[in-house]
């Protein structure tokens, strides 16, 4: 009797495991031990950063002393790239200085990353057509070929190399089922920083952008060590003459839970308090996160914490205000608003 019962439960458990492991979004074994390590990701990102510091430093110049940027989260792209395409189109059309994505950009499957790669390539071409001068030449086979020239720097770009200002962080669903290889192949680094340079009335200001790898629900030992070694307080040669005005932090895992019915892991107790204290130390203006697929807005002292709803067409098929745009004005003040997405599958 007992043996029969055990056999029945074992078959049920095996079926459940097989069903769950077949799903692109679920990795049941990861509840106890993950198949990817945040420390490994940080080591790889740090090595990449050292080799490509110029690219990753992300210095951007704000024209006329003001700028806007766009933020989206949790697109969970599969075969339908509608919302991802819409986000990039909105950013290009409205001249946002950059577009940040808060992770879970695609569910972990190679074919979804091919779809994502095509959408980004498409956006690069649109961005090139808008901001650069197309130069057409005939290649060795007498086929017309277009490249794009940045008329300020005189740099020439193939479409795939156009510097689309799209900056994602990594989310947990990007890397379950060993998805880090796919993610890093496209975006390289999960832990990086940048500055927006603002020249205003004869003064130089810098707004700092911090991109954290919080996909594992913890920053991990390596990332904490880097933070404590002042990675995000890097010196300029003339650091004493410039002023960090705003700091914006982008990460995947949320600090605040919008409601009791969300069962996604947030940070552990000590790490929550460590991060709240660190954001305060950095004089952060806005902390952006996603992960729970629900909107939450909170003000803690001078810091605004925005948890963005998912923009995924499967989870939110109706049009809605899934994106956020931040406007940093000439006088240094900032405002933000939610931006509507209209794509429906």
């Amino acid at each position: 009797m007992f043996g029969k019962l055990m056999k029945k439960y074992t078959i049920c458990a095996l079926l459940a495991v097989l069903t769950l492991t077949a799903c692109d979004k679920v990795s049941p074994a990861g509840i106890l031990i993950a198949n990817t390590d945040v420390d490994d990701r940080i080591k790889m990102s740090r090595d990449y950063y050292r080799l490509h510091e110029g690219e990753l430093f992300l210095m951007k110049k704000a024209e006329n002393g003001e700028y806007t940027f766009l933020v989206g989260a949790d697109s969970h792209l599969t075969n339908d790239p509608g919302r991802m395409r819409e986000m990039l189109q909105i950013g290009i059309d409205d001249d946002d200085l950059f577009y940040a994505h808060l992770g879970d950009i695609a569910d972990t499957k190679a074919e979804y990353y091919i779809v994502l790669d095509n959408v980004i390539l498409e956006a690069k071409e649109k961005y090139g057509k808008k901001h650069f001068k197309p130069v057409t030449y005939m290649d060795d086979y007498d086929t017309p070929h277009t490249i794009y020239m940045d008329t300020v720097s005189q740099k020439l770009y193939e479409v795939k190399d156009i510097p689309l200002p799209f900056h994602p962080v990594v989310g947990n669903h990007d890397i379950t089922n060993n998805g880090w290889a796919l993610w890093t192949n496209m975006f390289h680094s999960s832990f990086y920083m940048g500055y927006v340079y603002v020249e205003n009335d004869g003064f130089d200001y810098f707004d700092r952008l911090i991109f954290l790898d919080s996909a594992s629900g913890t920053l991990g030992e390596e990332q904490i060590d880097e933070i404590e070694s002042h990675f995000f307080e890097a010196d300029f040669p003339y650091m004493d003459k410039i002023k960090i005005r705003h700091t914006f932090v982008f990460g995947h895992t949320n600090i605040f839970r919008p409601s009791a019915s969300e069962f996604a892991s947030t940070f552990t107790r000590e790490e929550t308090y460590y991060l709240l204290d660190k954001f305060d130390h950095w004089n952060t203006s806005i902390v952006f996160s996603g992960h729970v697929h629900d909107w939450d807005e909170r003000k803690v002292g001078d810091i605004t914490y925005l948890t963005l709803d998912t923009m995924c067409e499967k989870n939110r098929p109706e049009p809605g205000d899934y994106l956020v745009r931040v406007h940093v004005k000439r006088d240094g003040s900032l405002s933000w608003k939610r931006v509507r997405m209209n794509y429906t599958p």
């Binding site: 679920v26 990795s27 049941p28 990861g30 509840i31 106890l32 031990i33 993950a34 990817t36 390590d37 945040v38 947990n172 890397i175 379950t176 996909a215 594992s216 629900g217 913890t218 920053l219 991990g220 030992e221 904490i224 895992t253 605040f256 839970r257 919008p258 409601s259 009791a260 019915s261 969300e262 069962f263 996604a264 892991s265 947030t266 940070f267 552990t268 107790r269 000590e270 790490e271 308090y273 460590y274 709240l276 204290d277 305060d280 992960h291 909170r298 803690v300 002292g301």
Partner: protein, 246 residues
């Protein structure tokens, strides 16, 4: 030597000592502990004390001591209090708790409440947790479910988290009343914290040294990101302590 190696060596030594003591104690000393809060009928007072060592990615190595007292008011009702000091982490905790036991055949059901205060000195954070939980306990198995209210103050603001589900389960290889035992557990809480869906797990043991003294210990792995399906090393710890009844 790297700190992690030191912790590993210390853990191995403590485990070896604990196993040895456990084996020596397995000679059938009378019981001092037979359930989560079950009154043995003759010793209404329970004093528990343990030391802990651990390593946490935020605070690095830490060492702590904890003590608790439980008074069985009747065969069914109990009250008590606990406290801990964790050096390194700079965490100081105190709680009061109480509960009711309902025996049903060979099982026990417990309704327990706890009010816990934590002071995270490093970040100037005061944390209050109130937990209410129902436990189903059998000789080899327990299952616990409840809800936790969590409120904290730091940097001049206060925040109350949405109610947090408390859930845990465990098994042991021998009946709960045996003179020694080894078990496995998985849960999202510990003696002095309740987590929002980060699941810690490990193994524990107990062994009666004398009629009124029991040795117990626990190895606990506390990952982050469990329900993100990316459980990642966050903290590991070891507890070793004594329980005395009179």
């Amino acid at each position: 030597m790297k700190p992690n190696n030191k912790i590993r060596r210390l853990t191995q030594r403590l485990l070896a000592v604990a196993t040895l003591v456990c084996c020596l104690a397995a000679r059938g000393v009378a019981q001092t502990y037979n359930g989560m809060h079950k009154y043995d009928g003759t010793h209404p007072n329970v004093l528990t004390s343990y030391m802990m060592v651990g390593d946490n990615i935020i605070t690095n190595r830490y060492f702590g001591i904890a003590a608790s007292y439980t008074r069985h008011l009747t065969d069914r009702w109990h009250v008590g209090g606990d406290m801990q000091v964790q050096m390194g982490k700079q965490l100081y905790s105190v709680d009061v708790q109480g509960g009711y036991r309902l025996p049903v055949k060979w099982m026990d059901f417990y309704l327990d409440g706890k009010v816990l205060y934590n002071r995270y000195q490093r970040w100037g954070t005061n944390e209050i947790m109130i937990n209410l939980a129902l436990t189903w306990e059998t000789p080899y198995f327990f299952f616990r479910i409840g809800e936790t209210y969590i409120h904290y103050n730091m940097l001049g603001f206060g925040y109350t988290e949405p109610l947090t589900l408390t859930i845990g389960t465990g098994v042991n290889i021998r009946p709960r009343w045996d003179s020694w035992n080894i078990g496995l557990f998985i849960r999202n809480y510990d003696d002095f914290y309740y987590e929002a869906y980060n699941i810690n797990w490990g193994a524990n043991f107990w062994a009666n040294l004398k009629k009124d003294v029991q040795l117990f210990g626990e190895v606990n792995l506390r990952p982050a990101g469990s329900l993100s399906q990316l459980a990642t090393e966050y903290e590991k710890s070891l507890k070793l302590g004594l329980r005395y009844v009179w």
